[in-house]
Structure formats: C-alpha cells, structure tokens
C-alpha cells in the first residue's frame, strides 16, 4: 500500500516537472508576432511582459498565506472541499467578507456578519446553521479570504 502511494507521488512529481519545463520553454509573452522578412512588426518592442498569477492574486506577499479547505459548508460561495484558499491577513475583516476564523482552537472558513451588537459566522450551505459569536467565546479573525483556487 505504502509503495503504491510512493509511486503515485513520483508520477505526480514527474508531471509537475514536465509542466515546469514546458512553462520554461513556452512562457507566453503578452504579444506575439511572427517576424516576416522586411517588415518588422510594430509590436515587437512590446514583448517584455509575461503574465504572472502572483501579481494578480497576491497584493501583500508578507501577509498572504494558503490554506486547504476541508468540508462543504461554503459550497454556495464556490468554495469546495479540497480547494486552496488565498488568505490576506493585512485586510481588515468587514461585514460580508469571507474570513478564516480561529474558533475553539480550529481554523474555519465562513462569511462574517457584523450587525448591531451581533457577530455571526455564516455558512454558505443551508445544512449548516450560522454560528452566533458570544462574549467569552474563544474566537479571533485570522485573515480574509481573497481568492479560491478550484481545480475543475
């Protein structure tokens, strides 16, 4: 059983390496043009940028962490079991944001509801009732979820 696991892991690694090599060789420039003899393309000088997902998804590298989702209470927000969350701790938690909360010693992802004198952690799945946050409860907001990486 163990052996099987290991070889499965290796296969995954090898695939990942192939992907990297491909990535290295076929990095997509923002503009691409075929050079034809005699007529240099006017876009030629513009090929200096490639798209970097980090730039799009991570605004504060020092404050950004990745977490893995376990469970289906946030399914209606598009957060599935096994997805990877991008969490930015520099963002202030506010009403309506999806947050990571440290609740009773565990990290949990829920939508934060702040109303007059009332704090709730709300699931996005009718099977899970909202969690009412009361005084003296062991809770703090760990970070704010900015994106979810979902493999389709």
């Amino acid at each position: 059983m163990k052996k099987q696991n290991r070889s499965a892991f290796r296969k995954k690694d090898i695939d990942a390496i192939y992907q990297l090599i491909q990535h290295k060789f076929y990095r997509l420039p923002l503009y691409q043009s075929l050079v034809t003899a005699g007529f240099p393309s006017p876009a030629e000088d513009e090929i200096d940028d490639t798209l970097d997902l980090n730039e799009l998804l991570i605004k504060h590298p020092a404050a950004t962490f990745f977490l893995k989702v376990s469970g289906s209470s946030m399914i209606n927000a598009g957060i599935h079991d096994g997805d990877i969350l991008i969490v930015d701790r520099s963002i202030e938690p506010a009403h309506g944001k999806i947050v990571i909360a440290a609740l009773n010693g565990e990290l949990t992802v829920k939508r934060l509801h702040l109303e007059k004198n009332r704090v709730q952690l709300v699931a996005e799945n009718s099977a899970y009732p909202p969690i009412e946050v009361r005084e003296g409860m062991d809770l703090h907001i760990w970070g704010v979820v900015t994106s979810v990486i979902h493999t389709v």
Binding site: A16, S73, H140
Partner: protein, 421 residues
C-alpha cells in the same frame, strides 16, 4: 539630532510560529526540540514559567511534559525561516538601514532627522503590523546604541505596549541600575563571573568603571560595551557579508557503522553546502570532512576526526565535491566505530568571477553549469530531493528523527494548514 538604534525581536519566535497555524496551542506551554528531538531549543512564555530550561535534554523532561500537558514540537525550520523572511521583509520596507542579526532579531535605523516621538510612534505601528500581517508578536527596543537597544528590547518584553525607549537620563539610570551585568549584550558567563568577583553586579556598576582599566582587563570588546552602555555608539549596523566558509553537518537519527551509509549522509550534506555556495556565486578551493564517533555512550565522550584537502581547481560542482569528500571520508573512516555525526566545510570561498581558468585542467563545461542551474531551480521549486545525486542514497535510514513536527504550512503544497468549511 541624535541617532537611534531600534532592535526588533520576535517573542518566543519558534513557539509563536507553531501557534500561528494551530490556534489550539494559544496560551499553552510549548517546547520546541532541536534536530533529532535532542534538547529544548525554544520555549513559550508558559513553558518558561513552568521552569523548563533552555538546552535541557528531552529525555529528562519527557515525563514532566506529559504530566503538565506541555506541547512538544520537533523543530520546523522551513516554517520558521519563511515567517522570519516575512517579518524581515516588512522591516526592510520601513527601515532606512537594517542589519538582520538572527532568524528572529534585526537592528534598524530610521532617517537621522526623525524626532524620537515619531520613531516611537512608528515602532508601535510596526509592532501592530507584524502581529496582524504575519501573526508573530515582537518587542521593540529604542536607544542611542545597539547595546542599549538590546537592553531596551528586554524591557519591552515586560511592557504591555511592547515598545521601550532608553533615551532620557532618568530612564537610562533606572534601567541600568536594575539590569544584571550578565544580561548585557556580549557579556558571556566568563566575563560575568569575573565582574561579579569585582563586585560589579549591574550594567550601571559596569559603565561607571574606568574605560582604560576595562580595556586592559577585557580588551577592546569590553571597552566598547562600556561606551555603548554610556550611550556612545561604537557598533554600527553591519552589512551582510558573503560567508568565507560554508559548513553543513547533522547528527544521525541512529548510530552508523558502515562506510556506505556514512558516505550517503556526507554526500547529502555536500549537496546542501554546494547549493548554498552556488547561491552566493562562489567556488570552494578546499574542503574539510569531519566525523564524530561515540566512544562512551555513558559519558557522551566522542572521538572527532577530520581531513582537509584542497581541490584541484576552485569549484562548486556537486559531483566533483562529492568525489573529493568521499575520498577524505575513506581516509578517516574506521571500522567498528559507532558514528553519530558527520559534515563538510567548504573552505576558502572565491567569487566565481575571480576564478582563474587553469591552463592544464578542463574548465567546468557550460553544460555542467547549466545542469547545476536546473538542479537548483527544480529543487527550490518542487522541494528537496526532487532531483538528487545517487551518492545521497535512495532510501536513507540515517535520516534525522523528527517525531512531532508540524506541517510545512508555508513552503509545501502538501503541507498547507486546513480550514474547516
């Protein structure tokens, strides 16, 4: 305008790192063990209060930890290194100059014209920012010298604000009169005992001494400490300098008796050292291989053997250095010895650009250089041992013990912390 030094020090750093992804460890006593779960290298405040000492061998406190429900963690340097980098990155962003002093400490300065009040305000904000962004609590000491900033940092740890400033005469005197001389930065136990014998107990007593007399008995280092304590700066921020030598060694999880196993372990450390030397674009001109065998397990007595060899030409090529290291190892290896540790030191490092090609030797081909680049790149990206040299062994059983390690939450896709949904 006076110049101020600011010391930023992470509180109980390793324990704080362990807590970040495990909120259930909040307010619990935590100890972190050294490599191979040997002895205590870090403690949370709660563990300190329970009387756990730094450096204590784990087997001695194992029962106590179980009884008092102290959380025991193997060290997780990937995690600590990553969080340290995040803290330092924030500091680099706000400081005028910075000296990263250790994994959890940095000295910095702000622009000269900045008034003390503004510096203090900045420090409060920086402390809040690091706690919020990275999740690590820090304390900050501000003073006209680095030595005093260290003392201020120690005061800050006891201060709920987390920031402490030694600037006014009155504060300077009050703090130093209460500050044990042995806790002054740079005064080790050796100086402490000598000073105690002379009746010098506090930092205040020490700085009152005659500088030239201190110079005679403690050398220029001692005299500098004295001036620094008086408030005259003698120790500027130091720029990071490339290392002159690189060492990599570890203790084994179990005793090794076979040369082949020892060679596998050594090759693994050579590999690590070579990656480091390539990172700083240097070549080694010589190597030193050493091994430690247990002579007497009761007293812990060990035999230490080493061999130094110069390399034919300066190199940072892993396979060349593995070959050289293995022949050194063969020279010092003794049958029936019980080896517990080995390692390599790359010596006389030379910047790659300064390497003179040898007329009679084949220069490192560009193919081999390219190989090293790809090797380093893949291992950095996909984790250690994505590619590795056969000499490092396929299934090393001499590997370090790390029985209660936390995940590589920030450095491996397989190690991410879980958020319950």
């Amino acid at each position: 305008m006076k110049k101020y030094y600011i010391l930023v020090d992470c509180n109980n750093f390793y324990a704080s790192c362990e807590r970040l992804f495990c909120p259930r460890l909040e307010k619990r006593a935590i100890v972190v063990l050294s490599n191979n779960d040997g002895c205590v290298v870090a403690r949370s405040q709660e563990a300190k209060q329970l009387g756990i000492k730094m450096g204590e061998p784990y087997f001695k406190i194992k029962d106590l930890c179980e009884r008092l429900k102290i959380v025991v963690c193997s060290s997780n340097y990937q995690l600590y290194g990553d969080l340290s980098q995040r803290v330092m990155r924030i500091l680099i962003g706000i400081a005028e100059e910075i000296q990263i002093y250790s994994i959890d400490e940095a000295f910095l300065t702000f622009p000269d014209q900045m008034p003390l009040k503004e510096i203090f305000g900045h420090c409060i904000e920086v402390r809040r920012l690091i706690k919020k962004w990275v999740g690590i609590p820090v304390s900050i000491g501000i003073a006209p010298t680095k030595t005093l900033a260290k003392a201020a940092g120690a005061m800050a740890k006891k201060n709920p604000q987390g920031v402490f400033c030694i600037a006014s005469r009155a504060v300077h005197e009050t703090v130093l009169k209460d500050f044990p001389v042995g806790d002054v930065w740079g005064i080790g136990s050796r100086f402490q005992n000598r000073l105690h014998a002379l009746g010098i107990r506090t930092a205040w007593d020490f700085q009152k001494q005659d500088p030239s007399a201190v110079r005679k008995s403690m050398g220029v280092v001692g005299e500098r400490m004295l001036w620094e304590l008086r408030g005259r700066s003698c120790l500027p921020l130091e720029k990071a300098q490339p290392k002159k030598s690189i060492c990599c060694s570890r203790s084994f999880g179990n005793v090794i008796t076979e040369l082949d196993d020892l060679a596998e372990a050594l090759s693994t450390y050579v590999n690590t050292a070579c990656i480091k030397v390539r990172e700083q674009h240097c070549c080694a001109q010589a190597i030193c291989v050493f091994a430690e065998a247990i002579i007497d397990s009761q007293t812990g007595l060990r035999q230490h053997d080493s061999k130094t060899a110069s390399l034919l030409a300066p190199t940072n090529d892993t396979s060349q250095i593995i070959t050289a290291a293995k022949s050194c190892l063969a020279a010092i290896f003794q049958k029936e010895k019980r080896y517990k540790k080995c390692g390599i030191i790359l010596l006389d490092l030379l910047p790659e650009a300064n390497v003179m090609p040898d007329l009679f030797l084949q220069p490192l081909s560009s193919k081999r250089k390219r190989l090293a680049e790809v090797y380093d790149h893949l291992n950095a990206r996909f984790g250690k041992r994505t590619l590795f040299y056969g000499a490092m062994g396929v299934n090393p059983h001499w590997k370090m013990r790390s029985e209660q390690g936390s995940g590589h939450y920030t450095t491996s896709w397989d190690g991410l912390a879980v958020a319950k949904a």
